[in-house]
């Protein structure tokens, strides 16, 4: 029996996936084990527990083969199968790959970088490296010494404009151009709204007036304020929004993110304050999302954006949606 406890298992035939995985391994000090067929991957998962599993899920067939093999040999809910460690690699966006959205195996969704798989692996490797800790929270775990992390503390939603102004000033000082800055601000705005209005869902659901926010400072003071951390290493800007509710539901989260309204009408719900399109907007903005949640303790939503000279490169940047749930 081999020991794969410090191994990255790659189930893929593609050279770009290998280049991506190699960079991750370099950064997180993992050994790579490449297999081409799902049964071989299952065998390795049975024998030991690779810490990271990358799976080519470019097509529904590839995904279904893997899911079927896991289901038949290990069981979808076996302790050998932890979604935190499973990363699906695709060429499409999450909204285009509906087959993966409700997968019980989904931990992370990675849209490949067609132009620079190794560079993407270098960035994603930091997420993997941080995730190897028992519980990973905070930009400091991700950037380590590569960037200084600055913190803003927010105790009420009325401070949002000032926080967004501060983020804008930070980006402009770092020579980001205006249009990506605007887009980033929209995404941060949505995450702040989520942290204030959506995280404490139980309290919010009891609101009788759906046109105005149901919660205010007194609700938040019970568990502290919202923290905003930001860092920029010259290539990637990261911003983390942390609330102290820990009420994130993965299935709902993925549903919200993957929703699209460009082909079907958006219907205004007057029974809720939120619009139901915030996370979808964040996803469409073009950055990457990492959600870290410790049940009933805290939720951290982190956005990453790659700096580009041209906006069209910004739009086409390497992207992922990754989750780590701790119970």
């Amino acid at each position: 029996m081999c020991c794969l406890s410090k191994t990255l298992l790659l189930l893929s035939e593609r050279a770009d996936d290998k280049a991506f995985a190699d960079e991750i391994c370099k950064l997180s000090e993992l050994k790579i084990q490449v297999v081409r067929r799902a049964p071989e991957a299952i065998k390795l998962m049975q024998e030991a527990s690779p810490q990271v599993i990358l799976v080519d899920a470019s097509t529904q067939d590839l995904y279904s083969t893997f899911e079927g093999a896991v289901s038949n040999s290990l069981g979808l809910f076996s302790e050998k199968v932890h979604p935190n460690s499973i990363h699906f690699l695709l060429d499409s966006t999450m909204s285009e790959a509906s087959f993966i959205v409700q997968s019980p195996l989904l931990g992370s969704f990675v849209k490949r970088s067609s132009s620079d798989p190794a560079g993407a692996g270098n960035h994603y490797g930091r997420i993997i490296r941080a995730g190897l800790k028992a519980k990973s929270f905070g930009l400091k775990d991700i950037y380590l010494e590569e960037a200084k992390v600055q913190r803003i503390e927010m105790s009420q939603i009325s401070q949002k404009s000032k926080v967004l102004e501060a983020v804008k000033a930070y980006l402009l000082a770092a020579k980001w151009s205006m249009r990506p800055t605007s887009r980033i601000l929209t995404s941060v705005d949505e995450l702040l709204m989520n942290a204030f209005y959506d995280a404490p869902q139980a309290s919010f659901a009891s609101s009788s007036n759906a046109t105005t926010p149901a919660l205010d400072l007194k609700d938040l003071e019970q568990k502290g304020s919202v923290l905003i951390d930001l860092a920029f290493d010259g290539k990637y800007f990261g911003i983390a929004v942390t609330d102290f509710y820990g009420s994130l539901d993965k299935a709902k989260l993925m549903n919200y993110i993957s929703k699209g309204f460009s082909k079907s009408e958006y219907k205004v719900k007057t029974t809720t304050f939120n619009a139901g399109i915030g996370l979808s907007t964040v996803h469409q903005t073009g950055g990457s999302l990492l959600f870290l949640c410790e049940a009933s303790v805290k939720t951290e939503a982190i956005l990453f954006f790659q700096k580009s000279d041209k906006f069209k490169d910004f739009r086409n940047q390497f992207r992922f949606i990754s989750t780590q749930f701790y119970f």
Partner: protein, 154 residues
């Protein structure tokens, strides 16, 4: 915070909006009741968040139901993005003109060029270059045409 400048041009009620549309924006208070012909100038709308989108659709759907003829003029990139993302963002209105983002190939200055929708349709995704206002260099369209102009094909 959103601000509005109102004027009446014959039978057309003109509204010039500027600022961000967010959770504290109450369009029914700012714009008032629906009018038969409404021209909404969007040049200076810099951002709109999800609650702002909900507020926008709720208000303009009300106008649509009341029989208003709505025209959106000089739509900023923030508004064009929403028009593309949300099928019914226009609420039955007509998009007359939009700003297109350009970037100078020499000095990287960001520029915005105003185009009439009717003219854009004729261009068939082949967009012209502009002259940079800062260095006179060549400014190219800086987005993905099929995405930014997706609304033209609806």
């Amino acid at each position: 915070m959103i601000q509005v400048e109102k004027e009446q041009k014959g039978s057309i009620s003109v509204y010039k909006l500027s600022g961000n549309i967010e959770e504290d924006t109450h369009l029914e208070e700012i714009l008032g009741p629906p009018k038969p012909q409404m021209e909404i100038h969007c040049k200076n709308i810099s951002r709109i968040n999800s609650i702002g989108v909900k507020t926008w659709i709720k208000y303009f759907q009300g106008c649509q139901k009341a029989g208003s003829k709505i025209t959106y003029v000089e739509c900023s990139t923030a508004i064009v993005e929403q028009i593309n993302l949300i099928l019914n963002f226009n609420c039955g209105g007509t998009v007359e003109s939009v700003y297109l983002p350009f970037s100078c190939t020499q000095c990287r200055t960001e520029l915005a060029g105003l185009f009439k929708v009717v003219d854009l349709k004729k261009l068939n995704m082949t967009l012209p270059t502009l002259k940079c206002t800062k260095c006179s260099g060549k400014a190219e369209f800086d987005d993905i045409p099929e995405d930014y102009l997706a609304f033209l094909n609806r």
